[in-house]
């Protein structure tokens, strides 16, 4: 039955996450935007103390996505500072064995706060993830990793500030192309791995983005996710990466929605204070320019949200959702980019000023059209799936 009713659990989750966003994130939002690379230690301690509430357990289903939207409504950069295995966890979860999940994710709720990260992008390859040049060579009971990874979200927190881990994508056989691509878990403190270059960014400044160098970095053989075998006809490793994206893209879309809605709510609140009403039922030709803008922004937000919920629902039904995940990510990334930019325009001098958070949300929003696959890559995937074309048929 087609249904849009939220479960009581989801409703409570949204409410609690919204309160937390308002109470924990919003008051320090501007500060950590202006003090890039400064750790929001008090906030992290606070979240860590409250971890038993379940509020900050960031799973990959609709219930989690609804909470994530609320938290990102508070602050998308601070959201990324919430301790947890994050994208690294998603990779372990989608291609690891039960034993590996236990080993790598088991301790995340104990001791001190920890973070997980995922390292895919390299200086020479971004969206073209199959062109990865980092290598993993087997040496007895170990893998030896070499290469450089850039734009690793929360890499510093995972590897320098905590006892976390990073999932690294590397090739075990360059001649095998995609079939040779595998992922490996590298725990913090592993010799031969070092964090370099803390990026200065346009937005989500509370989160760190780093370069990681692997220089004869040795890890146990059992740290490979999925099978170590390379069969030229099989691209399991690569498919593992793509399966991870199927799960994470709707979650990124949910993060995007939070930022977009922050801007929408801000505008609506302002209009209300100004006594300006939006007359939704008015015929198109009689709407004011402002009403048209607001309706377009709200409709785009809703479109992105429903595409996101559908992609997650399909995953929960164990249906293949590559197409729908990419659709959701492409739509949400672009929608919130446009919504926040339009919001700045509508608010005029107030929108551009750092006195309000709106200009920050516009900067924060943009990352959603870039990380976990740019808007264009997601359009490419959508196009290939829609046309039933291989990567050779549509480049």
């Amino acid at each position: 039955m087609i249904d849009f009713e939220l479960t009581p659990e989801q409703q409570e989750g949204i409410k609690a996450a919204h309160e937390a966003a308002k109470e924990l994130f919003r008051p320090v939002s501007r500060y950590y935007d202006e003090h890039e690379h400064e750790s929001p230690q008090e906030l992290i301690d606070n979240i860590w103390k409250r971890r038993s509430e379940g509020l900050f357990d960031l799973g990959m289903d609709a219930t989690a996505a609804l909470r994530i939207e609320e938290l990102c409504w508070g602050d998308a950069g601070l959201f990324l500072c919430i301790p947890g295995p994050a994208l690294g966890g998603a990779a372990v979860f989608s291609s690891g064995t039960r034993e590996q999940m236990e080993r790598f994710l088991g301790g995340f709720n104990e001791g001190a706060p920890k973070w997980g990260a995922m390292a895919m992008t390299e200086p020479g390859c971004g969206s073209d993830t199959a062109a990865i040049s980092a290598t993993a060579v087997r040496d007895g009971d170990e893998w030896v990793l070499n290469g450089e990874k850039i734009f690793v979200t929360m890499g510093k927190r995972a590897l320098e500030d905590s006892d976390g881990f990073v999932v690294v994508w590397a090739t075990v056989d360059k001649s095998a192309g995609r079939a040779g691509m595998k992922s490996f878990v590298v725990p913090a403190g592993t010799p031969g791995m070092r964090v370099e270059k803390l990026e200065k960014k346009l937005g989500i400044k509370a989160s760190d983005t780093v370069t990681i160098i692997f220089d004869n970095c040795r890890i146990p053989f059992e740290n490979i996710l999925g099978s170590p075998e390379v069969r030229k006809t099989e691209t399991k490793g690569f498919r593992g990466a793509m399966a991870t994206f199927d799960a994470t893209r709707p979650i990124i879309a949910a993060q995007a929605l939070g930022v977009g809605r922050a801007a929408l709510d801000f505008i609506k609140e302002t209009l209300e204070n100004e006594g300006i009403k939006i007359h939704y039922g008015t015929p198109r030709q009689k709407l004011t320019a402002l009403e048209r803008d607001i309706i377009e922004m709200e409709a785009n937000y809703k479109a992105a949200k429903l595409l996101t919920l559908r992609a997650l629902w399909m995953m929960s039904q164990l249906q293949p959702n590559s197409l729908e995940s990419s659709m959701a990510k492409a739509k949400a990334g672009l929608a919130v980019t446009k919504i926040t930019q339009k919001a700045v325009e509508i608010m005029g001098p107030l929108g551009y000023s750092r006195k309000y958070l709106l200009e920050k949300w516009m900067r924060d929003a943009k990352i959603n059209d870039i990380f976990e696959g740019t808007g264009q890559i997601n359009m490419l995937i959508t196009a290939r799936r829609t046309l039933n074309y291989s990567r050779d048929q549509l480049k």
Binding site: F4, Y280, L306, A383, L394
Partner: protein, 364 residues
């Protein structure tokens, strides 16, 4: 709990309607558009599916199924994928039946609903739109005034589907500042059906101008009796129906241009292998899906009898833009071939352009 899966029964209806759309409508839609006529046989075949009577209780002559906006949306999309003119013709009696079913007095339901549950198709229709600049359904120029035991209606209407053959009309008019419905039977003095209209699209659907000159109807013919009608809800049901149909038209155009792009070779490979074309198709696919999901959500609100003006208006505005974007691109992908009437995409563009105008011309 969030779910995007239609019920088994809904899936059966969708399969049946899809079959009809592809076997019957798709065979003759071009001919119908050129001739401005729809063969009775197609309408009769469609009528036998019982799409309207199945949602009317047995007490009023229907087969007693549930009246659901979600089911209606699913039907609307599939039919409109076949052809929009025929869809609006087939579902035209609903314009009269559903407001009477939902808001009519018991007397009105008993008297009129059996007439739209007949075994053979009988036209019933509605008159809302008016031929003037700045038309607004919430501030109609057509007025109804109470005079003793009768209402006196005066005004001009347009885009009235099947007005010439309809036995029953539901005419909306302004009464004390609000929009109310009035049931007018064919042949009532003062009701004058004008010439058939000539429009850019939906050319196979017969629509008419209508004039009301001191047209008198009994007081009991006010929709909902003393209580009147919930005009917001009627408009919302229309917005949802049209959004579903826009999705269907867009889907037809998307599929056709996608298939064309995979076959048409230029510079040694199918044009679909070029991102300029492929990205257009990807965006079309995304926006069609988004519109469908938004339509379902608004329909779901209507089925729960919740206030849905915001959701219905948002999706309608979105659908209006989406269907133009998609059908225009379909023409563009076919290039010169898209502009000639040998291919259907120009027809879908003409039909798609109308949705922003059609408010009130379809209902779920």
């Amino acid at each position: 709990m969030i779910s995007f899966s239609p019920t088994e029964e809904q899936q059966m209806i969708v399969t049946m309607v899809k079959q009809f759309a592809s076997d019957e409508m798709r065979k003759i839609y071009r001919e119908c558009d050129e001739n401005g006529e729809i063969p009775d046989s197609v309408i009769d075949t469609a009528w036998k599916m019982g799409l309207i009577s199945s949602s009317i209780p047995e007490d009023y002559g229907g087969s007693g199924g549930e009246h659901s906006a979600i089911t209606g949306s699913l039907i609307g999309e599939e039919l409109a994928w076949g052809d929009l003119s025929m869809t609006m013709h087939i579902l035209c009696p609903a314009l009269f039946a559903y407001p009477v079913l939902e808001m009519g007095s018991e007397t009105q339901r008993k008297k009129y609903l059996p007439l739209v549950c007949d075994e053979t198709y009988k036209a019933a229709t509605t008159a809302l739109i008016e031929p003037r600049f700045g038309f607004d359904p919430y501030s109609l120029s057509t007025v109804a005034q109470l005079d003793g035991n009768e209402y006196v209606l005066n005004g001009e209407k347009c885009y009235v589907p099947l007005a010439a053959e309809a036995d029953l009309l539901l005419v909306y008019a302004r009464e004390n500042g609000s929009s109310q419905g009035f049931i007018i039977e064919k042949g009532t003095k003062g009701l004058d059906v004008g010439e058939r209209e000539k429009n850019m699209g939906i050319k196979a659907l017969a629509t008419y101008e209508l004039s009301l000159k001191n047209c008198r109807v009994p007081k009991e013919n006010r929709l909902g009796g003393q209580k009147g009608c919930d005009f917001d809800r009627i408009m919302n049901c229309s917005r949802v129906a049209l959004s579903a149909m826009a999705t269907g038209v867009a889907k037809a155009a998307f599929e056709y241009s996608r298939d064309y792009a995979k076959e048409r070779v230029a510079f040694g490979e199918p044009i679909a292998s070029r991102q300029a074309i492929a990205f257009m198709l990807a965006e079309m696919a995304i926006e069609i899906d988004a519109t469908r999901l938004m339509t379902w959500e608004a329909a779901w609100k209507l089925d729960r009898k919740e206030e849905a003006t915001k959701e219905a208006s948002l999706v309608k505005a979105y659908a209006d833009d989406m269907v133009i974007m998609v059908t225009d691109r379909a023409v563009q992908i076919l290039g010169g071939h898209g502009y000639v009437r040998e291919h259907p995409v120009e027809l879908w563009l003409r039909n798609g352009r109308g949705f922003v105008t059609f408010d009130g011309m379809a209902i779920v």
